[in-house]
Symmetry: C2
Subunit: 336 residues, 2 copies
């Protein structure tokens, strides 16, 4: 199963001998853990308390990009969704839809990245599924991960907690993931590579919740649709508006150049390691100190206001103000 | 959103305004429940004790077939996987990968089927994800469901419990789902339609576990690869062989005809509502009585033996014996 030119065939998804071989020699071998090893129709878990449960399918194209690949993304994405619920991620499922003809070497590399990302985030892949579809009915590989985490006893993350004057903090510069994917697709070259920001956010979020408990009012990772879209989701759910300061929203130089070149607004470009943290104003400096230990570009980017309910208004670097509209249409398909 | 000719576009998966509309006017509206309504990155669940966790992606083609559609299949399949763990299914996630151009009416019909199947099995869809891929990068719609259930306190389902002389019971005739799909694909017409056997097995399994506890040694649904493949999975995990009686394995007449016409062996054809139950011999008549209340074709089809370890041998209706080999190659791609 390790010859360079080998590819995945339809029979690898048949439930028969070839599938068993692929499972045994690649998937179970690399992802090995006691729970997965039981190999039943589902995993047996012993858990107590309030749980969080999340799912995401990853259809990013290309599947390998600078700073990561679809496997790493699939682990980090679901780990982060659980973290945004104030939960400690514990167990993931892994469901693969592989296009016939996908290279076995690439497949193995992706499974290895999944294992590394899972180890890094301290989660286990405990159950899974493998399907193979005909050529032209998929695109190399699509991955679904679902995850279960235990909600931290001090966590109370919900939009209803958001209050007037709450501050909006992000943990780093935006738009890197989306522009890493776009640069790859468009064959753009910059002086330094644009890297996806994909990473697991569970430890830093846990840190914040441990220290500040329910003063952390809300958390959300700014993935599809970018920072603007997640803030819009929040603004429509609460009866407040959001005011932003453009100069505090950092974008790396080469990411900014790529956005300008392609005519994209970084506010709408996907991130994979950036999250919005909405807290009471009195803890903002302490939160910032914690976030800046990991990324010096973490910043307070705005606040919650009752002046323009459900609207987002951004003050530009030169003092002008404009409304940030919801994303209409599709800026970047297949970004995650 | 309800004009007949409307289709799903890439922008329905963008994280922007069109996606919000699709979520609000179709998905959240049809699947509505209190947990889903929170609309966070994940669902909050309160659960205690031993849990089962399972995942499956459904890529069946065509997505509508006689006796069901991909939506119903996606709910029943994961409900059944949890049931086979001896668990009471509670919560499902729902992740959609839609091909650009898929009809909105068909999409709505599938979401409605998901809701009906979930209600029937008494499970809730609590979290989800929607992705749209370009034309030619998918096939109408792929659905992943992951599920969480609570393991019944009397359940103890594992291959290690299987003993010599245990009986193998199935709950009805085999090969109906696979042949329903194949007939649809091949445009075959029979006197009466071949219907998929897709159904939720949770109530009947719960019944067995309630009554017989750990005398139910093992359960597995005979999906991909059919009855032969799941028995092979079991036989390779235990140090025993399996003896089968061909005449006790029922196949409906028109299913048998379709298999003959297409040169397929019903033992390897997928089922969606048939499961293998391995029990101690002394309860076989009682188990059969319970199963036959639902389907009169439930039958004891064989037993566990130490005579031919890890091998499956079938005695034909005319008394001859042959080895049932593992499935090699791909008999029926995209069957579930």
């Amino acid at each position: 199963m390790n010859k360079k030119s080998e590819v995945i065939h339809l029979h690898h998804g048949s439930g028969g001998e070839h599938m068993t071989k692929l499972l045994n020699e690649v998937i179970f071998k690399i992802l090995k853990n006691d729970i997965l090893e039981v190999r039943h129709d589902g995993a047996f878990l012993n858990m107590q308390g309030n749980l969080a449960f999340s799912t995401d399918s990853y259809v990013v194209s290309p599947v390998f990009f600078k700073g990561g690949n679809i496997g790493e993304l699939a682990v980090n994405g679901t780990v982060n969704d659980l973290s945004m619920c104030g939960a400690i991620p514990k167990y993931l499922s892994l469901a693969l839809i592989i296009e016939e003809g996908f290279g076995l070497d690439e497949f193995i590399q992706i499974i290895k990245s999944i294992k590394e990302a899972a180890d890094k985030a301290n989660v286990q892949i405990v159950t899974g599924d493998t399907k193979v579809v005909e050529r032209g009915k998929g695109d190399q590989i699509y991955i679904n991960t679902s995850g279960i985490g235990v909600v931290h006893e001090k966590a109370n993350i919900k939009t209803q907690n958001i209050q007037e004057n709450d501050v909006i903090i992000i943990n780093g510069p935006i738009a890197s993931h989306g522009m890493a994917i776009m640069s790859e697709r468009e064959g753009l070259e910059f002086e330094s590579d644009i890297l996806s920001d994909t990473t697991n956010l569970n430890y830093i979020v846990l840190d914040l919740i441990e220290k500040f408990g329910d003063k952390i009012h809300f958390l959300r990772d700014a993935t599809r649709g970018g920072l603007a879209s997640v803030l819009h989701e929040i603004a429509t759910e609460i009866n407040f508006g959001i005011s932003l300061f453009e100069e505090d929203i950092k974008v790396e130089n080469q990411v900014k150049s790529a956005c300008e070149l392609l005519g994209l607004d970084p506010l709408y470009v996907a991130n994979e390691g950036i999250f919005v943290c909405i807290t009471t104003p009195e803890i903002k400096d302490e939160v910032l100190t914690i976030l800046q230990k990991v990324n010096s570009n973490a910043s307070v980017i705005g606040f919650v206001t009752d002046e323009h309910p459900s609207k987002i208004i951004i003050e530009s670097t030169f003092g002008g103000k404009r409304v940030v509209n919801p994303l209409v249409g599709e800026q970047l398909p297949r970004i995650c």
